[in-house]
């Protein structure tokens, strides 16, 4: 199966003429539950966030307009600086693990015999099924320096497991590794779908011309895989910013001393721990501008692929 085949060209089919007249009200009736829900729980909150970011919300008093004070306050706060920097680190260090590492895995699964390929595919998919809560708990235990599983393996060798999660220098890397562990297999499956859609004839004809495996990989597979690579890269950025919330919340709570917090986690903490609605909304909005640009890029890529199909 391929990414593009799944989007059929039937979109251009004309609809039955008779239905056009009868369907004046009916489509609105059919759509009304979806539209009401989207209005109430997606688009209204979007507008409300913008409003909340420029006011000071006070108990039992009307909201006070404060202009950009929430934003300037944010820019002066050290935790915002730490969270912004960490967000960049999370993304920059996650991308090679989540985007590049799955490519050779996918190629090797693709080349394996049918039975091995099917076994590896199933195993690679398992972390996708586990909740991030479960993954976090399992890895807290694995990495525990006193009674963790890794430590039990190291002890006979006379080695000591470092306390990765409570050390400000290593905690963020531990979370990056764990969040990669959760998605590498799934991304490999996405690449596998991309590989499976490459026409066999192209490979055969290159081979007849005497091309080596390496040559085929470099000049044919990787270029044809590039839309999938872009796509996985953008998805990984969006995923990384939002999904690391769970391991941060469970494994480190953003610490030690803000070493693992990111912008999403900061927005959550401001909203529900320090009850600073203005700061939380301003943070969410800034995050939105960044992520929204990426989501638009992703939608554009998706649109381009539909035309290729």
């Amino acid at each position: 199966m391929s990414a593009s085949i799944a989007l059929p060209a039937a979109a251009t089919l004309a609809r039955p003429r008779a239905r056009r007249r009868a369907g004046n009200l009916l489509p609105w009736l059919l759509l009304s539950p979806l539209l009401l829900l989207l209005a109430a729980f997606t688009y209204w909150p979007l507008l409300h966030t913008i409003y909340l970011s420029v006011v000071d919300v006070r108990l039992f008093q009307p909201d006070r307009f404060v202009g950009l004070d929430n934003f300037t306050g944010l820019f002066r706060s050290p935790s915002f600086a730490a969270a912004s920097w960490n967000t960049v680190i999370y993304i920059a260090l996650s991308l090679p693990l989540k985007v590049l590492l799955p490519i050779p895995i996918a190629v090797f699964v693709w080349c394996a015999g049918a039975r091995m390929a099917s076994l590896h595919r199933s195993i690679l998919f398992v972390p996708t099924l586990l909740s991030f809560v479960v993954v976090s708990i399992v890895w807290i235990w694995m990495l525990n320096p006193v009674m963790g599983m890794v430590q039990s393996g190291l002890r006979p060798l006379g080695l000591q497991m470092p306390a990765l999660l409570s050390d400000a220098a290593t905690a963020i890397h531990a979370i990056i590794g764990i969040s990669a562990w959760k998605v590498i297999g799934f991304n490999a499956l996405l690449y596998l779908a991309g590989l499976a859609s490459i026409p066999r004839e192209l490979i055969e004809s290159m081979r007849l011309d005497g091309a080596s495996d390496w040559r085929i990989t470099r000049s044919l597979l990787l270029p044809l895989l590039s839309p999938t690579i872009y796509f996985v890269a953008i998805t990984s950025v969006l995923f990384t910013v939002q999904q690391v919330f769970t391991p941060i919340n469970i494994m480190t709570g953003g610490g030690p001393s803000n070493a693992t917090t990111n912008l999403f986690y900061l927005a959550y903490e401001m909203a529900f721990e320090s009850f600073n609605i203005g700061f939380a909304s301003a943070t969410a909005l800034l995050l939105f501008v960044g992520l929204g640009a990426l989501a638009a890029l992703k939608a554009w890529l998706l649109g381009r692929r539909v035309h290729y199909a």
Binding site: P16, L35, F41, W44, A193, T217, L291
Partner: protein, 279 residues
């Protein structure tokens, strides 16, 4: 996902490939086997013993229900997941039908807004949604867990694709036989897209069952908490003092998604991959 070996790997590369796959698969399987093994260990074997249990026991699986109200958490998760996924499917089916089969003013804009909702990060909208749910009096209730998530744009998107791919001739002959739009939906389209509906249901089920952020924000008491929040609170309360019971809880919480996967293995892989490429 047909599997045909297209590269004739030379022996060293074949070996490297096998090692890479072996290491990748082991890195997934070993931690999970250790979790299951630990959940079967009696208390005296938990610390410092062998990785596998010498005298396996199911005691931890009983104990975890004594330590936390896991049954209640399961009931909350199961009921809210069933209601939410059911609602999502009905709403998405109706909306996809409208988008795929009717022409009306504003259709393309509304479809773009639906796709836009798929792209909008939760991180942006959680605070106003929380304020609204509190204002409605749904904080710490099933309603708060279910209602804000009833719209599933990814479901609308996938079902619309399937309906667009649906053979026109069948619909035309149904119309000639006098079937109105409702009958066409229930009697012609629905039976034919059932595999797609099932696959999307599984996707939404796993999403909902594994969700952490929203239940964390919107629930406060045991009477609304889901399994994910429950197991997390168990972790905080025990901090590793009762590892066997914690791991038993981890296994139990993960079982439903695993069971569904084993049941519908092939279809799930394909649906997740195609949704992953679009969502």
């Amino acid at each position: 996902m047909r599997n045909v070996a297209p590269l004739t790997l030379t022996p060293p590369w074949r070996a490297i490939g096998n090692i890479v796959l072996f290491v990748a698969s082991l890195s997934i399987v070993v931690p999970l086997l250790l979790v299951v093994a630990t959940s079967l260990k009696p208390p005296i074997e938990i610390h410092g013993g062998l990785p596998w249990p010498q005298s396996p026991t199911g005691g931890n699986y009983v104990e975890v229900f004594d330590k936390i109200p896991l049954g209640l958490y399961f009931w909350n998760s199961a009921a809210t997941t069933a209601l939410r996924v059911g609602g999502q499917l009905v709403i998405a089916l109706l909306a996809a039908y409208a988008f795929a089969r009717f022409e009306f003013r504003g259709r393309d804009v509304l479809f773009a807004l639906t796709l836009g909702a798929m792209m909008l990060p939760h991180s942006l909208t959680f605070l106003p949604t929380y304020l609204m749910i509190s204002w409605l009096g749904w904080f710490d209730s099933w309603w708060g867990l279910i209602v804000p998530n009833l719209a599933a744009p990814v479901g609308v998107f996938l079902l619309r694709q399937h309906m667009l791919a649906f053979p026109r001739d069948l619909l035309d002959s149904a119309a000639i036989d006098g079937a109105g739009p409702w009958r066409a939906l229930w009697l012609v389209i629905l039976p034919n897209i059932q595999p797609a509906m099932a696959a999307i249901a599984i996707l939404l089920f796993i999403d909902c069952w594994n969700e952490y952020f929203w239940p964390l924000v919107i629930t406060e008491s045991e009477h609304a908490m889901t399994v994910q929040i429950g197991i997390r609170r168990f972790l905080d309360a025990e901090r590793g003092d009762d590892l066997g019971a914690l791991m038993a809880g981890v296994v139990l919480v993960s079982l439903p998604a695993m069971a569904v996967f084993l049941w519908f293995q092939r279809r799930i892989l394909e649906t997740f991959v195609s949704a992953g490429l679009k969502g």
